[in-house]
């Protein structure tokens, strides 16, 4: 906060605003999330455990978790590479390309799913040729990963690009003048600057992937044990009048996301400390 640096006591207005914001976040996020947990375990922990370990629920959770983690990791690297290309290379039409990166957030994900399904689906030219090679994308697990990569593309790119653009060219020049090769320059100048952003961008895309529904429901096929993800399973439970099962499985997803966030914070602090020391 900037208040202490001004060496002034926060004004009354500021205090009200500050507590107002805290209240806002608590009401907007914390209360509904706690409510969800409460609702999920309202039948007791035994029932909760039975619900989340039912074979279909378990397989849906597992599918969402591994595809989410895979997408988070892929995004961390591919997103950083994309940001690098956008910032560092004089690609013609760069501003258009940069805008294109944001588009997945602007279109309804249902539409994104439909588009991907018709593009890679068995009736399209692409789908037909893939079928010859016995590669299944749509209505199979690769389709899930593809859709998740599409809808989470901007997270890492948007987190890393401004940092890359903001790095003082003098630092890079200094590294080169001191005899560092391109890889060492990248490692010593760029990695420390962008690493925390790349990781948190990756975690954010993972979080988004865990909850993704619109695109998945049209592209995955939604067959239990094969292509049914946790959000689609949850939707089905709500629709069939089993909101407690839905809440229980949601609570598991949420805890998983929270744990990963905590893990990422730790990783950031550690690498930050190591890089600072080294």
């Amino acid at each position: 906060m900037s208040a202490p640096s001004r060496a002034l006591r926060p004004s009354r207005l500021e205090q009200i605003l500050r507590s107002g914001i805290v209240l806002y976040v608590v009401l907007l996020v914390a209360v509904p999330l706690l409510g969800l947990f409460h609702f999920g375990v309202a039948d007791g922990f035994v029932r909760f455990w039975e619900k989340i370990t039912a074979p279909v629920a378990l397989s849906a959770l597992w599918l969402s978790m591994w595809t989410g983690v895979l997408v988070g990791i892929l995004n961390t690297f591919l997103g950083t590479a994309t940001a690098w290309a956008l910032v560092r290379y004089p690609i013609p039409g760069r501003s258009w390309l940069s805008a294109a990166v944001d588009l997945p957030l602007a279109i309804p994900t249902l539409v994104a799913g439909l588009m991907l399904a018709s593009l890679y689906g068995p009736t399209s030219l692409l789908g037909k040729s893939l079928r010859v090679w016995e590669i299944e994308i749509v209505f199979a697990r690769p389709g899930i990963v593809l859709a998740l990569l599409f809808v989470t593309l901007p997270f890492v790119v948007r987190a890393v690009a401004p940092l890359l653009a903001g790095i003082d060219p003098a630092e890079e020049e200094a590294a080169v003048v001191l005899g560092a090769g391109p890889w060492r320059t990248f490692r010593t100048v760029f990695v420390p600057a962008i690493m925390p952003a790349a990781i948190s961008g990756g975690i954010r895309s993972l979080g988004r992937a865990l909850g993704e529904f619109g695109s998945i429901v049209v592209i995955a096929g939604n067959i239990p044990f094969r292509t049914l993800t946790a959000p689609v399973f949850i939707f089905g439970e709500i629709e069939s009048g089993a909101p407690r099962t839905a809440a229980a499985v949601s609570a598991v997803l949420l805890s998983f996301a929270l744990a990963l966030h905590a893990g990422a914070r730790l990783l950031e602090q550690r690498t930050g400390a190591r890089l600072a020391a080294g």
């Binding site: 906060m1 399904a117 689906g121 209505f139 067959i223």
Partner: protein, 352 residues
């Protein structure tokens, strides 16, 4: 104070305009309901959207005007049958519910919103009928004739998710019922064999869409060799010029779609007379002919014989009562660890 900066970047005029628009919007809404023209709110499932919106409700409006000299406006909501029932229970004040399945109406009754015996009338509260059929590609290239053909390893099948779609429940009941009656290549009364057949068919299912209509749209996009669906979905599609054929299995289930007046809400709105008139209108030959035009089988005998040629006859047509009624079917087939769960678990074995 970074957040102040963030706020100032916000376009306040935009916010104000949006807020004003929202306000005028809600004002108009309340004015509408307070106006003289009585309004009837309908909670309907998705499939019959066209028949109500384009044919039956306009006809009823004319009919009501002739009879009472008054106008009526409709507020229609179309949602999946289960979702519609939950919306009504949660406080969506529909005067009349037109749903796909009896259990959805029963759920509204159990919430104490329907307080009369809605099944008491001549037609047991049912306004339309249909049957479960198999949609196939033009010319039926995979030569699909029976339920057991859907279990062949070279056939890709579409059917919606039973957790979200009433249509999917009818589909499962059609296959299970036919098998239990010894009409689908399995011994009569052999439950394990029936579950086995269902499992083999589910194994061929590539996509479980949310509802019957979505499933049909997937089929129309060229995916799958066969789609299990309502006969009326197929008839409407073909009438619109869609190029696919269909097969009526020799044994299938009769689908019956209920209507009920929701006592709690008509009493609150003072619309009982109007709601009653609408529901009675649905059983007139005029309305029943509209249903037939949209591929739904009429429930009244005179119209049924008029339009007989439109609908394929079914050798062994059974109803939900042959399966012990809805509560029994739900307990046996769709409850945890029931027939459907066992079939899904069976479909998993040997799948990639």
């Amino acid at each position: 104070m970074a957040w102040i900066g963030a706020f100032s970047r916000f376009k306040w005029p935009t916010v104000i305009v949006v807020a004003l628009m929202a306000c005028t919007g809600c004002k108009r809404e309340t004015e509408g309901s307070a106006a003289k023209t009585p309004a009837l709110t309908l909670g309907v499932y998705t499939t019959p959207r066209e028949v109500y919106g384009r044919s039956i409700l306009p006809a009823f409006r004319r009919h009501w005007h002739e009879r009472s000299g008054r106008n009526v406006v409709f507020r229609e909501s179309y949602l999946g049958s289960g979702a519609q029932a939950r919306a009504i229970i949660a406080g969506f004040e529909a005067d009349v519910a037109l749903l796909s399945l009896e259990p959805d109406i029963e759920a509204i009754r159990d919430a104490d919103l329907i307080r009369h015996d809605w099944k008491a009338g001549v037609h047991g509260g049912m306004v339309t009928r249909s049957v479960v059929v198999i949609g196939v590609r033009e010319g039926n290239p995979k030569n699909i004739r029976t339920w057991q053909d859907l279990a062949r390893p070279d056939v890709e099948v579409l059917t919606p998710n039973v957790r979200t779609s009433g249509g999917a429940m009818w589909n499962v009941l059609a296959i299970y019922g036919a098998a239990m009656r010894g009409q689908a290549g399995t011994p009569r009364g052999d439950r394990d064999a029936a579950i086995g057949l269902l499992a083999s068919i589910l194994k061929n299912v590539k996509i479980m869409d949310r509802g019957a209509r979505d499933s049909m749209l997937t089929f129309e996009r060229g995916i799958g060799d066969a789609v299990i669906t309502y006969e009326n979905e197929i008839l409407v599609g073909r009438a619109e010029g869609k190029r696919y054929d269909y097969v009526v299995p020799s044994s299938t289930i009769l689908i019956e779609n209920p209507v009920a007046i929701i006592d709690a809400y008509v009493d609150r709105h003072g619309t009982r007379e109007l709601a009653q008139a609408l529901v009675e209108f649905l059983w007139t030959p005029e309305a029943q002919r509209f249903y037939a035009q949209h591929g739904l089988r009429p429930v009244i005998g005179s119209v049924a014989s008029e339009v007989q040629a439109q609908f394929a006859s079914v050798e062994d047509l059974f109803t939900i009562r042959d399966l012990g009624g809805w509560p029994e079917a739900q307990r046996l087939v769709f409850a945890e660890g029931g027939v459907y769960d066992r079939a899904i678990a069976g479909s998993r074995e040997g799948s990639p």
